[in-house]
């Protein structure tokens, strides 16, 4: 009974909103971090520009729940939505369901993590390899081209993670005085990032620098470094540049972070999805670009982020 009421209430809301013509659905890997929340905000802003569009943003509970993401996609395909924008949680695992979307005639924009699927109408994201190279170049400067460096990485086999690692490795392994001691996975989660960092510091007490391939892991690693009073001695570089990480850079607890602009990714993804839904031509690759945040430019970036967050809550 209670259930019927709850579903009724939820369903009523959806039904009333469901009168517009163009239903676009964005399915992210999760919504449990600032990155995805900001991407969602950007997507919603883009959708508001067009009164005919109705956008829903859905995601599995955690980035590792690939089968849950597949189920969500199947259900949306069944509803014959006008277009899908998908950040694939597993590169190979989503291919069968993407083929189903194609069979149902639903255009798919791939977001954030590219997949080897030629039928995507567009890929909206960043050049992750370049981001990894930027992190490596910063690390080499900071440690004076000498000493041990390590990487804490996200779920294995996911293209974004592989690219960031590959870019980083490519640069550091060319520096003769630098020893690359390996990349340890921490599934893009903060608690795991901290645990992996603790182990790295135990195993390599002379570690000079760490590159964590997303903010959550970097923030976890930061706590492990701080707990050993090594802040400032072990160079730490993150990836994403959410507000929390930028504040950490400002406070000197983290050295640098490669910036993504998730609002922009979300916005462009939805613009491409709308184009596809209307049968207009798409840009095949939308490169959002990256930048490096250090103590020098962190105040300005933080001001901008806070202003846009305040603007959102109005």
């Amino acid at each position: 009974m209670l259930f019927a009421l709850v579903v009724g209430w939820l369903g009523w809301g959806c039904r009333r909103a469901g009168t517009s013509k163009l239903e676009i659905v964005l399915v992210t890997k999760a919504l449990d971090s600032e990155f995805w929340q900001r991407l969602k905000t950007g997507a919603e802003q883009a959708a508001r520009q067009d009164p005919q569009v109705r956008l829903s943003v859905l995601a599995p509970e955690r980035e590792i729940n690939i089968d849950q993401q597949v189920a969500i996609l199947e259900d949306q395909i069944h509803k014959k939505v006008a277009a899908l924008a998908v950040a694939p949680a597993g590169v190979a695992e989503v291919l069968p369901v993407l083929d189903k979307a194609r069979a149902a005639g639903i255009p798919v924009v791939i977001v954030d993590t590219d997949v080897p699927w030629p039928h995507r109408v567009s890929f909206v994201g960043i050049d992750n390899r370049l981001g990894g190279r930027m992190a490596a170049e910063y690390v080499l400067r900071a440690i004076g081209n000498r000493g041990k460096v390590a990487v804490i990485r996200g779920v294995l086999g996911v293209a974004t993670q592989e690219e960031r690692l590959a870019g980083f490795r490519e640069v550091v392994t060319k520096a003769p005085g630098v020893e690359f001691v390996g990349a340890q996975p921490a599934n893009s989660e903060r608690a795991l990032g901290m645990a992996v960092m603790e182990n790295l510091l135990t195993r390599h007490p002379d570690l000079r620098a760490v590159f964590a391939t997303n903010d959550q892991m970097a923030l976890g690693a930061m706590e492990a470094i701080a707990a050993r009073n090594l802040t400032g001695k072990v160079v730490l570089v993150g990836f994403d540049a959410g507000r929390e990480a930028v504040r950490a850079v400002l406070a000197g607890r983290m050295d640098a972070v490669v910036a993504q602009f998730p609002e922009r990714i979300g916005e462009r993804a939805i613009q491409e999805a709308i184009k596809a839904a209307r049968g207009q031509p798409n840009e095949k690759f939308v490169d959002i670009g990256t930048g490096l945040v250090t103590r020098h430019n962190a105040p300005e970036l933080l001001r901008k982020m806070e202003a846009s967050a305040a603007g959102r809550s109005d």
Binding site: C14, I64, H78, G157
Partner: protein, 323 residues
């Protein structure tokens, strides 16, 4: 306790244990049918079945364990390891049939190991060996693959997770067949009925000459075997043996069994109830997906349903005790 509430409770207590979960499922489908025009279509119902298939397979194995008053926390991890080993065998060039044998065999062996650890090492509670196995199997799956998914599997293997037979997804046929076999096993065979006896009163079962240890090993072996079957379906469906497959699946399977009316104290539980339990969870997730409700809310709703289902069980038992 007088008045309409008590009366309602008594009536409910008499009707609910048998048909409660089924009734709840029908009501849910009706409600979702009203609120989403997409819900009650053949295509979508087949989607629900397909999405529930892995959980249903795991839940059947879990049922065999739970009726003995046990619990199997390792099924999700066993599924992961079976997925990975089957995919590795296939990548090494083995025939699809051999891949399936590997998945089922690995599952059954790990399940039997659980049972042996429980009975031969005399570990105090099934929680312990299966919790250990949960970690060991997951760890091995990650070690063997280095964490990477093994994708692009041959169609002969994928068919069992992604194919259709007479318009119905193959996994659905597998669930139907497994349900029939489990029903016959649990109700018509001596070993099956012994599982209920052990769960009802272990001491009494022992005194009646039930080979308790052997039956328990069998129950955990079956649970592992079903995890292997789940692995075939999931790897086939996703076209990939990924080491993180089935994370959290043990809790979903336990939830399905409990929602389906089985008792954690053992001795009670049916195949039909368990299937309905798995379908309730599948229908909830699917329906809420169709209504664009976030996965976080789905978790909240499923949690509430578990508590409600057990509460109904408690009410029933109290009413039965009063009579």
């Amino acid at each position: 306790m007088n008045g309409p509430l008590a009366l309602w409770k008594r009536t409910a207590a008499q009707a609910l244990p048998r048909f409660g979960p089924l009734l709840a499922l029908v009501l849910m489908c009706a409600a979702l049918g009203v609120f989403s025009e997409h819900f009650l279509s053949i295509d979508n119902l087949l989607n629900v079945f397909r999405q529930s298939a892995v959980n249903a397979l795991l839940a059947l194995g879990q049922l065999a364990v739970i009726v003995t008053a046990g619990i199997d926390l390792s099924v999700g991890s066993i599924l992961g390891l079976s997925c990975v080993l089957a995919a590795m065998a296939l990548k090494a060039g083995s025939a699809p049939a051999l891949g399936i044998v590997v998945a089922l065999g690995v599952g059954a062996c790990l399940g039997l190991t659980n049972g042996l650890l429980l009975t031969k090492l005399r570990l105090p509670h099934p929680f312990i060996p299966t919790l250990g196995m949960m970690n060991v199997a997951r760890g091995l799956a990650l070690v063997l693959t280095g964490g990477f998914p093994i994708s692009e599997l041959p169609w002969g293997f994928r068919y069992w997770g992604a194919g259709t037979l007479w318009g119905v997804p193959v996994p659905v046929w597998l669930v139907v067949a497994s349900c029939l076999l489990f029903h016959l096993f649990l109700t018509r065979t001596t070993p099956g009925r012994d599982l209920y006896a052990i769960g009802g009163n272990r001491q009494a079962a022992l005194l009646c000459g039930v080979p308790v240890d052997g039956r328990l090993i069998l129950a955990y072996g079956l649970s592992g075997l079903m995890a292997g079957a789940g692995a075939v379906v999931l790897a086939g469906r996703m076209n990939s043996g990924f080491p993180l497959a089935g994370v959290g699946a043990e809790l979903d399977s336990i939830a399905a069994v409990i929602i389906g009316g089985a008792s954690f104290f053992g001795g009670v539980g049916t195949v039909l109830g368990t299937l309905v339990g798995a379908l309730i969870m599948g229908v909830l997730r699917n329906g809420l997906n169709l209504l664009n409700v976030s996965a976080y809310w789905q978790t909240v709703v499923i949690g509430a349903v578990i508590v409600a289902a057990v509460w109904v069980d408690v009410v029933r038992q109290r009413a039965a005790a009063r009579r």
